[in-house]
């Protein structure tokens, strides 16, 4: 914007200089061609030479000033368009730029931007609506499957092959249910409408419980913990629990045979900071950029077989962001892979 203003001022000054120079040339040529040799005119011109020379910069200064104001006035609508457009994010795609009626070119620009936003909003909502509808439509058959299977299991006789089959089926239904649930949360997060049931959560306690669980799930791992007691956060307990469980499960899955997990919980600048580090193979540079993408999974072919949907980390990050916090991969070396989660404290 500044460059535009300067160039307008420069053009104005250059124009004026041209006019002055042109006028001067015209007078000189005129005097020569007309061969009018009137000493008095030349005399008076020469006499005023000093004041003319002084007046030129003064005039130029006022011209520049005027030019500056004119250009400021001209670029004002562009500036306001920029300001509004900057504020339009995924969370507020319904915003539009107010039309400027005085200027034809600019009002055309505004119309073009607005109609682009229309198309963007429409396709964006179609996508997230599709996910939400799909998840919703899946819930009816899942309810039936789960209900009928549950009933069959209640009637089943233990130790029979059919019973085992029913249990396997019900486990798969459960897995499908979890994926649908996660997709629904993601689609809600996309439109900024994640359903948070906020309450005071004792974060230290939640992490301690998870550590207890890990000691049961993975007794072969060494666990170190530095947990500051009674750190409180405002959060949705179930969703935060999901995030911590997810990070912990990853720390177990991608660990060494006799590896280590380190949990740290501290307060920094009124943020609760959790870091979860595990030993294991480092995540390559290109994978580091992708691990928070949906359905992405680090190629596990060189390590052990790993279960999961590939939704965990992207979901965890969306949940944390909805809580006005952040989740990052802070380090991945041959020694440790560390995820850091921060949440505003109460």
């Amino acid at each position: 914007m500044l460059r535009l203003k300067i160039s307008i001022v420069t053009v104005l000054i250059a124009g004026c200089l041209l006019i002055v120079f042109g006028g001067y040339l015209f007078i000189v040529i005129h005097l020569i061609t007309m061969e009018i040799f009137n000493a008095s005119i030349i005399q008076s011109l020469l006499e005023h030479k000093k004041s003319i020379i002084i007046s030129i910069p003064v005039v130029l200064f006022f011209l520049a000033l005027g030019g500056w104001f004119i250009s400021c006035h001209m670029t004002k609508p562009i500036k306001s368009i920029c300001q509004i457009a900057e504020k339009i994010t995924v969370r507020g795609l319904n915003q539009r730029i107010p039309n400027i009626e005085t200027d034809n070119e600019l009002s055309r620009l505004v119309t073009v931007i607005n109609s682009m936003l229309d198309r963007l909003e429409k396709s964006f909502y179609q996508t997230s609506r599709f996910t939400a509808d799909a998840a919703h439509e899946l819930q009816t058959p899942l309810t039936i499957l789960q209900g009928v299977l549950e009933d069959a299991i209640q009637q089943a006789i233990q130790d029979q092959e059919e019973t085992q089959l029913l249990v396997t089926l019900s486990e798969e239904v459960q897995r499908l249910k979890n994926i649908v649930k996660k997709l629904l949360i993601l689609s809600q997060a996309d439109v900024g409408q994640l359903d948070l049931r906020l309450e005071h959560v004792n974060f230290s306690e939640l992490i301690s419980f998870t550590i207890e669980d890990i000691q049961v799930i993975a007794p072969h791992l060494t666990i170190h913990q530095e947990i500051m007691p009674d750190i409180m956060v405002m959060a949705d307990y179930d969703l935060l629990n999901l995030v911590i469980q997810n990070l912990s499960t990853n720390a177990i899955k991608y660990n060494l045979e006799k590896g280590m997990i380190i949990f740290r919980l501290t307060i920094e600048n009124s943020y609760a900071m959790v870091s979860i580090s595990n030993t294991g193979i480092s995540i390559s540079k290109e994978d580091q950029e992708n691990i928070f993408h949906r359905f992405f999974r680090v190629d596990a072919s060189h390590s052990k077989r790993v279960h999961g949907s590939g939704l965990g980390l992207s979901l965890a990050r969306e949940i944390v962001i909805a809580h006005k916090g952040d989740l990052i991969l802070s380090e991945s070396s041959d020694e440790f892979t560390t995820f850091v989660l921060k949440l505003p404290c109460v």
Partner: protein
């Protein structure tokens, strides 16, 4: 106890009906909002299970017209979309409880029991089974007035079992209800905690046994002589 079930999907309503009848409830079914609007005002129902999405009049407007006419019959809402607004709207309209699809029958039955206990004015925070008492507020477990120390997870596990006596709970079902859905369903965590819990509570013969149903899961053994057990 007589229950009115208003649910448009016949497959869903049939397994709910079956599950409720097995518990000894009398169930009337209705698959349409307009017909439901007539049936819901019929006297004699002790509880209504109401789906929100219905052909004809939807569940929420049925509920509103019920409460506007000063009918206090308890209502449990079934919702498919667990969105915040729908839940709050439902509770504001006068629902006593809500359940998100997909739900377990055992859970629905437990909620029905909880609501009838509330209506009968019994102490809500206490759950009894044999000589085992769970206080849901102080989170204290007592056997013959002796306090048993349980961890948070052990307490939640015992509460889940005690709320659905006699029903088999699969490992994945227990994992979902006690731990949430962030853990790998292939872990042995449920078995380990059941073992811990058994060690803490089963040194008394009057305490109901946590029975292993081989290849399936676990259940709290219900004493057949004592039907009031685990209420």
């Amino acid at each position: 106890m007589k229950i009115l079930l208003i649910e448009d999907d016949i497959k869903i309503s049939s397994f709910i009906e079956k599950g409720l009848k097995e518990q000894g409830f009398i169930v009337d079914c209705c698959d349409d909002g307009n017909q439901g609007d007539l049936m819901i005002f019929e006297p004699g129902y002790d509880l209504v299970i109401l789906d929100i999405m219905l052909p004809g009049k939807d569940g929420l407007s049925l509920l509103r017209s019920l409460r506007e006419n000063k009918q206090t019959v308890p209502v449990i809402l079934l919702t498919a979309r667990s969105a915040l607004n729908e839940r709050i709207e439902g509770l504001n309209a006068g629902a006593d409880d809500y359940l998100c699809k997909p739900f377990y029958m055992g859970e629905l039955i437990a909620r029905i029991h909880a609501i009838t206990r509330r209506a009968s004015g019994s102490q809500l925070n206490l759950l009894n089974c044999g000589n085992l008492t769970l206080d849901l507020i102080s989170r204290e477990v007592k056997i013959n007035n002796n306090v048993i120390e349980l961890t948070n997870r052990e307490f939640n596990l015992l509460e889940l079992l005690i709320r659905q006596p006699g029903r088999v709970l699969t490992r994945t079902q227990i994992l979902e209800k006690v731990w949430g859905y962030g853990f790998d369903p292939l872990t042995n965590i449920v078995d380990v905690y059941i073992r811990k819990l058994r060690n803490k509570i089963s040194n008394d013969s009057n305490v109901p046994e946590i029975e292993t149903v081989r290849g399936v899961g676990y259940r709290l053994k219900q004493d057949k002589d004592d039907t009031e057990c685990c209420d």
